[in-house]
Amino acid sequence: MTELNKNTLISIKNLGFSRGNKHIFDNITLDIPRGKITAIMGPSGTGKTTLLKLIGGQLQPEQGSVTVDQQNVHQLKPSQLYSLRKKMGMLFQSGALLTDLSVFENVAFPLREHSHLSESMIRTLVLMKLHAVGLRGARDLMPSELSGGMARRVALARAIALDPMMIMYDEPFTGQDPISMGVLVHLIKSLNTSLGLTSIIVSHDVQETAEIADLIYVIADGKVIDHGEPNALMNSSSAWVQQFMHGSADGPVHFHYPAPDYHSDLLTT
């Protein structure tokens, strides 16, 4: 699985990373196929966002390598890293919109920074992207006037502004009502097929994600627990994966952050 072939866009080998004393990943290996939708799932706090930041070259791994489009992300010179990033879109969990710019200007930002398009071209492109996420009418609002779900959709419009070769979605479905959720799921799917994008989705929404993902990786405790097609995972023989995919509280994946025994903790004075 790990050998590099043309169908693999991102290949992560033996990746290790820790924050302070806490090992977030030890020895993770996974491949993300080109042109497909790959989902990364796992309990809260396992390091899914961290993994996306490692892929984007914002964090430095302790061991192992991340290869994107045949380039080792952590050995690139800053200028090479920046030109690679122009081809990567990233949708942040928080949206990360620039608070001093309007919705329109936020989406126009990457275009203004990286292209020499005329003002009318920029306007057309921005309105197209905003239309795709259903917020063309919100172009003059400031980010502080948006709801969390709207902000994330604006961030999505911004992430696709430069027509990247891949997009990393960090929790795109959180805070969306059923209608915009449906539209988003559809949008992610259609961006993927029409533009030939490679998509990585980090999400807790098992149903929605399983609906559109071609491949799912389940991560917990710094390891890849299982991977495979959605159907295969739903019927996985592993108790870990069963628990996660069906959302039961009891099972091998711990709901609690590591802590001393509950009863003795309460009785300690």
Binding site: K53, Q58, S83, K86, M90, F92, S94, L97, L98, A155
Partner: protein, 260 residues
């Protein structure tokens, strides 16, 4: 006891590490300067929010400081029958010392704290990371224009502070206490030296502008990305800027005027 040394050692090490990060940050900021020229609008926007918005506090403070100088100076000088030199005394104190120093302190409180809070919040809300992922260098795009704006604004604000202060001294000395109008201005003209007084004052305020902007921007950039982190960083900006300005003022004064 051992614990004490441990704490001392750790905080020393952390402070040196921070100094290293600050120096590296300064180099990155300075490297971005050539990129500003083709995008002057970024700088102009910052000159407005850093400089123009500080004019009011600088003018009002300058007026009062000048008026107090006029009053205090008059009482001392008139004891020796030297009240004609009031203009000289007011102008020299302002141009050499109070103009650069007090404006730098006010600037740190007004513009410096705002810069730290702004950058810190941008970091806490992942706007800086977001920019990096859009292949835009946040240091060049956000920090450098603000740094240059601070560097350019403070000398101008200090000049404004001194000029208004001299008028304040005039209002009190000439207008209220009856010092001769001609003497107020002519003593000043005759004795204030362009190089020794004015230029040295300008050099000081350039140095203060450099230091205050550097501290404010670095504290924002280096903050812990939480609301508590940002509020602490803002406080540190004001405190560290004040210390640095006063200490630097002593050093610069000693180099310029003293025979130490």
């Amino acid at each position: 006891m051992l614990h004490y040394f441990e704490t001392l050692g750790r905080s020393t090490r952390e402070n040196f590490a921070k100094l290293g990060r600050a120096t590296f940050f300064l180099l990155l900021t300075l490297q971005g300067i050539p990129d500003i020229l083709p995008r002057l609008s970024l700088l102009i926007k910052q000159l407005y929010s850093v400089g123009v918005l500080s004019i009011l506090i600088i003018s009002i403070s300058g007026l009062f400081v000048g008026m107090v100088l006029g009053l205090q100076g008059y009482y001392v000088l008139s004891d020796f029958g030297a009240d004609e030199t009031l203009g000289l005394m007011v102008a020299a104190s302002l141009v050499r010392e109070l103009g650069p120093v007090v404006s730098a302190l006010l600037f740190a409180g007004r513009a410096g704290s705002a810069l730290t809070a702004e950058i810190g919040l941008m970091k806490a809300t992942e706007q800086l990371s977001g920019m990096e992922m859009m292949a835009v260098d946040p240091v060049r795009r956000i920090i450098t224009p603000r740094f240059l704006a601070g560097l350019m604004s403070l000398p101008l604000l200090a000049a404004m502070f001194s000029a208004i202060g001299i008028m304040g001294g005039h209002i009190v000395g000439v207008g209220m206490l009856g010092v001769d109008d001609g003497a107020y201005w002519s003593q000043m003209q005759a004795s204030i030296d362009f190089y020794d007084d004015i230029l040295n004052g300008v050099i000081k305020s350039v140095a203060f502008g450099f230091v205050v902007s550097w501290i404010a921007l670095f504290e924002g950039y280096d903050t812990l990305p939480t609301s508590e982190g940002v509020s602490r960083a803002t406080t540190r900006t004001v405190v560290n800027s004040a210390f640095s300005v006063l200490a630097l003022d002593f050093i610069l004064t000693a180099l310029m005027f003293g025979d130490i």
